[in-house]
Amino acid sequence: MSAHDHDHMPITNGHEPAAAMRARALEELLVAKGVLRAEEIRAGIDWLVSRTPADGARLIARAWVDPEFKQRLLADARSAALELGLDPGPSPVVVALENTEVVHHMIVCTLCSCYPRALLGPPPAWYKSLPYRSRAVSDPHGVLAEFGLEIPDDVELRVLDSTADIRYLVIPRRPPGTDQLSEEQLAALVTRDSMIGVAQPSAPALA
């Protein structure tokens, strides 16, 4: 029996992947047992897909132009996001980690796909892949080299495995030659991957 007043076959294209079938079965059970309403599930999915890395980029650009804001971001990224009118999401603690001349951070979730979705949007497919999840902790230099990022020997590399309730966000280094750019122009340089710690921000376009 479906949630409304008649039985019917599920609406699919006939080639539904196993994971999608499992998700749909779970969704139907949750609704049938009264745990969630279908509208709540739809609203949750709408929220997830509406998030983009532009929100994270606004935080980073503000931190680059305002040292006091950067200190507040490092102390409590959730409050800093709220200060800019951004939605930091359901995670009670968001931690921002600053890349410097001597320290580089990168983020992984070896157990599943924990990710600061509220500020970065849905994680890229590679972030959820087994090769990234296993190699990011055991051979991060090799992984970063495949992303085109060389970490010099004198830079301390820190890999954050987000295994619990904390969500991590990297504050990448501000690119050289950007002194004249506005906060908005700076935000356009902050890529998703640079906030995961697998890339540097984009270089500014030559004037």
């Binding site: 070896t110 157990l111 055991s138 080299a145 020997d153």
Partner: protein
């Protein structure tokens, strides 16, 4: 919170058949406390419909790469930082 920043801790090796958030690659390994996050509901009971109370303290623990994978040559040195609940932490022997 029982442990302090900078203190060495060893991750418990005890068997745990159900859902838990302590990755296998750090079990039995010794690292050091980097941050005291806060207390959070226990995912080991929440996963089965329980309320996850009492909340358990959560720490950020860091490990030297060579302590986790001593036999694997690395492209460089790095440290791994993992969030671990207090009931998985032990004093090093």
């Amino acid at each position: 919170m029982t442990y302090r920043v900078g203190e060495p801790v060893t991750i418990a090796t005890r068997a745990h058949s159900g859902h838990h958030r302590t990755p296998a690659y750090i079990k039995g390994k010794t690292g050091r406390i980097e941050r005291l996050h806060a207390a959070f509901r226990n995912p080991e009971t929440r996963a089965y419909g329980d309320d996850g109370l009492p909340e358990m303290p959560l720490y950020l623990v860091s490990f030297e790469r060579s302590d986790l994978w001593p036999d694997t040559p690395a492209g460089g040195s790095h440290r791994i930082y993992v969030d671990v609940f207090e009931h998985w932490l032990e004093e090093p022997k």
